[in-house]
Amino acid sequence: MGGYILKRLLSAIPVLLGITIIVFLIMAMIPGDPATAILGSYATPENVARLNRFLGLDEPLWRQYFTWLGNMLQGDFGRSFRLNRPVLDEILDRFSATLILAGTAFVLCAVLGIIAGTISAARQYGFADKAITSVVIIGISVPSFFLGMMMILLFAVKLRWFPVSGMYSIWGGGDLPDLLRHLTMPALALSVVATGVVARLSRGAMLEVLRQDFIRTARAKGVHERRVIWGHALRAAMVSIIPVLGIQAGFVLSGAVYIEMVFQWPGVGRMLVDAILTRDILLVQGGVVFIAACYVGFNIVVDVAQSLLDPRIRT
């Protein structure tokens, strides 16, 4: 087991390198010259050249890459010129907010999706199946930002159950109930599409498993149907559901962008959009690498979970 984890960790290294290369290359393709962007179009050529030298932009591309990579490994993601503070500090400040939002949404989508999909499969073509399938079709088609807005209208403005927004800082003021009040709507809105996808795939995986011979064996033993479905069948179906959960984690993590905009959530997603609109390139670069790295890390967790579940891949 330890060996498997180690192997999986090592295999993440080339992926992480690849991610940094892709991000670096994309950013290097920016038309025009960052120095001009920083100094404005009235800058003198001498000043532009000086700043270029200062930023190391006169070096060959590969050297720039390794300098950038080396700095990042030492925790130096550069400075945001707009906020005038280190990029990593800004990211870390905001990441906990995104993590709470995305984490809650992920747990919701996994639990609700799997339960809905399993019920749907067990009652194939029955009323519950039809109801769940219909809700799922709407769920995977609705834009999360529109859903968020409609939830604000209904639950915050009309029914006044939850606050419209006003989550300014995760750790400042407010206790847990306050956090939950602010978290409920954004997390639900963020989880809906992912829940639909998980439910749909769980249904398919369960239908596939329920036709297998070992399900007949369980029934022939006299195992109760409830246990056949929620034990034998679901356990086997999890093998194909878990990879989907991994993909949905990435979806929820990056889809948080929309929800953070709608609910004014102080997370990394909103920071990224602001940074893009103000062309704060180092902040974008750092943010993208950071989130992608987190996602790679999470996928390792998913793979390890998968190997715990399926003894056949633990070799």
Partner: protein, 620 residues
Amino acid sequence: MSLFLRLLFRNKLAGFGAVVLGVIVVLALLTPFLPLHPPNETSTANRYLRPLSDGHLLGTDHLGRDLLSRLLWGTRLSLAVGFAAALIAGLVGAAIGVMAGYFGGRTDNVTMRGIDMLMAFPYILLALAIVAVLGPGLMNALIAVAVVNIPFFARNIRGVTVGIAHREFIDAARLAGMGHTRILLTEVVPNIVPVVVIAMSTTIGWMILETAGLSFLGLGSQPPQADLGSMLGEARSALITSPHTSIVPGVMILLIVMSVNLLGDGIRDALDPRLRSGALARPMAATRVDRAQVPPAKGDALLDIDALETQFQVGRRTYKAVNKVSLELKPGECLGLIGESGSGKSVTALSVMGLVASPPGVITGGAVRLEGQDLIGAPYELLRSLRGRRVAYIFQDPLSTLHPLYRIGDQLIEAIRVHDPVSRAAAHKRAVKLLEDVRIPNPAARINAFPHELSGGMRQRVGIAMALANDPDIIIADEPTTALDVTVQAQILALLDELRQRRGLAILFITHDFGVVGQLCDRVAVMYGGRIVETGPTQAVLDAPAHPYTRRLIACVPELGGGRRILAAIPGLPPAVDQLPEGCAFAPRCDKAQDACRRGEVTLDGTTRKVRCLFPEVAP
């Protein structure tokens, strides 16, 4: 093509999606010709008019622009961008996939590693990074969304191409001296076009959603031009005071994406042959029973299968898998049920405990009595309490019939504890004893093994141990040795025989091998086309088979060390049970068949030996 359309519209949801999408697309195409306000005509006097206002059917937005007009123009834009993104992603992705899959080797390796890297990014993040570089704008959003979706297409298409590239017709084309370009264009591409179309139809909804999302964030279309996403984005600040400005474009996005998704699902399903055959239906907890009348009880057998009828109902077809089969099993007796594949022997066995997959299986008649109690149509809870406790099964392939993810010990312990609420420790002890009984060496350690860690013979021993877990009265063994090699087969048979003697088990042994029947069974019943054609004491039937089919089936068994006779195969195939011939089902393959055989029902006659034949080989 017409079949495809018929299948597509048989799916009501897909039909609904097609209609909704059709209306939206037609409206979008006609937009320039409709009598609408210009979409960008502002009017500060008419800001935030409610829907159904004079001259503005859907009201106006924060600049007094007509919402209906903006909605239709926005829809036009969103649709165009979504389709364009899907087309670009599909074409570029397919091209990459075909190249990687066709050329293989290093090309494949390098390309696919690159694709993997792209897939390592969370979905929308990469699109954001690309827009960050290109700058906000609708065209840039389109490119970003297309690029993000390329890996998905490249991967799928590569998989399909790899499958095609190793097929014979490609080799033939290569040997015929065709160049790579020509092979790709004439042989490979036509085969992957359907796959690309399906992939596009299932992802186009996502792409419309994603471009709308980028516009919503202010990274897509820039004012005054507006797609649905940026309409929503602009309306957000007035969400609470004038909700209609948000609802109008939001509902439109929902409608478009939903109809595209429904249609995409419909297309995929219509092209998936498994759905057509209904093979994706899951079997229920017990076989469906639809029985007109119950035959009166008689006899005192332990297990009495009485005129049992089990059918498979697929679409309009009915397969009569088991057609009025009657069998009796006394305590401690071993009855062999023999026949070719498809003769209905397994279905008969599975019907006893309601284990025939349903749908499509239905028990339509007869009775199965366990000590006089009818099990057909019995409540699920009763059936469940008898399964494994009084009547246990051993199945054919122990690799697929054991749960692959549970340790064999846990599977045994579960079998014990379902019927006997003992502690886990006690059950564990009994499980070890069971493994010992079926001669598994070192049972205390093997109990922790997973099925894939055992050999085929060992697995079948586990299967037998599981059947013995609750000391049942009857074991139904459905070809338990067919998947094993011959030496292991002999060991398993010896084990079953010994267990039978020691525990007084009654066994219903299903096989297609007369050699096996001869070793184990007291009596034998021969099945053909869903009916019993001959039954009697094993030795008597083996010595002098009465039915021509039995005779020829026995002739199929090779004689060890004999080698003086020709090994006779039976010409022809067993009948399809959805169109059984009138009269004797074996008549078309029988060399003794006469006209009388093809008319009317042939009855099963005799006392201890019965035969269903007008011209039996020997008098029964």
